[in-house]
Symmetry: none
Subunit: 184 residues, 2 copies
């Protein structure tokens, strides 16, 4: 049930869908046909270059051959249940001398509450809600933001994310100083 079995299987499927022989794909991609044979059989652990050469020759994106695991846990580790209450994917990162801003596409699962530990000093977060109603920020004085609304809070203290009434989608901004100090 290896990852390489999976990738090999997909590779073979893709090739056969295009009515290409193993030899022909090897020729077009520049990959040795022995390599390709063992790869499709899941008996090899391909390098990125090899995968890229093959998917390109198959006119497919790399993702066509990788088991797409579209889950990303936000703020994993730390305390508490880092479950699937909040998922976030980085879509942009801005760096300028004094600070860095990360822009995430975020989803808060319906009915869930997640508390996040403090980040480094002078970190702040902002949320633009796209759909749903979010309750976020300081646990003592949380803010509520609905579709099209905006919230801003300090993130150098513990803070929470929750979606009491239904799934929330939004864009989250995390802004923190550029200095590289570590906290305990």
């Amino acid at each position: 049930m290896g990852l390489n079995d999976e990738v090999g299987r997909r590779l073979r499927e893709l090739r056969q869908q295009q009515r290409l022989s193993l030899s022909e794909l090897a020729r077009r991609s520049g990959v040795g046909k022995g390599t390709l044979s063992e790869l499709e059989g899941g008996r090899r652990n391909p390098t990125l270059d090899t995968l890229y050469a093959l998917t390109t020759a198959l006119d497919s994106p790399l993702s066509a051959v990788l088991s797409d695991h579209p889950r990303h846990a936000f703020e994993a580790g730390g305390e508490g249940v880092s479950g699937d209450a909040v998922t976030a994917v980085l879509i942009e990162r801005f760096e300028e001398p004094p600070a860095v801003t990360d822009v995430f596409r975020i989803r808060i699962a319906a009915g869930s509450v997640q508390e996040s530990a403090a980040h480094i000093a002078d970190t702040s977060e902002s949320l633009m809600v796209l759909t749903g109603t979010a309750v976020v920020g300081d646990p003592a004085q949380p803010q509520t933001a609905g579709p099209g609304e905006y919230a801003h809070w300090r993130a150098d203290t513990p803070h929470l994310y929750s979606a009491p009434t239904g799934d929330v989608h939004g864009i989250l901004f995390v802004r923190y100083p550029r200095a590289g100090a570590h906290r305990a």
Copy 2:
């Protein structure tokens, strides 16, 4: 030109986002730290197993590290609201029954002023400034927003975008009622 440079760069970004040291990530993923160091430097051609071990330890999907979607989608993304002074690329669109929200990556050229005509009724816009200082909104009472700050204005009247002191980068939200009949 390397695919491996790109992957290495993303890997490092992801790791730093999570405030993990190289050594710590190596420990958690079971990947040798020498390997990880050279990988982040683009001096290696990682195998699938290695990539998977790393992205799993980073709680990210494999695709987060493959130049496939995340950032190239922006460059490829076509639809823009472009004038002389303002360039914008759509990065996300949310549709829910009452309204649609478009999320743009926006740049306002230094020293420029652009006025936009009124959009349809009940349209509003919000801007999160990432770098620079923007002056935006109602021409009679424009708002100023610096890095990390936020502005919101009605867009069903003429409104302006300007960057008096230097290039401005940000994320622009345009929210408008859903086209067509009002359905409950």
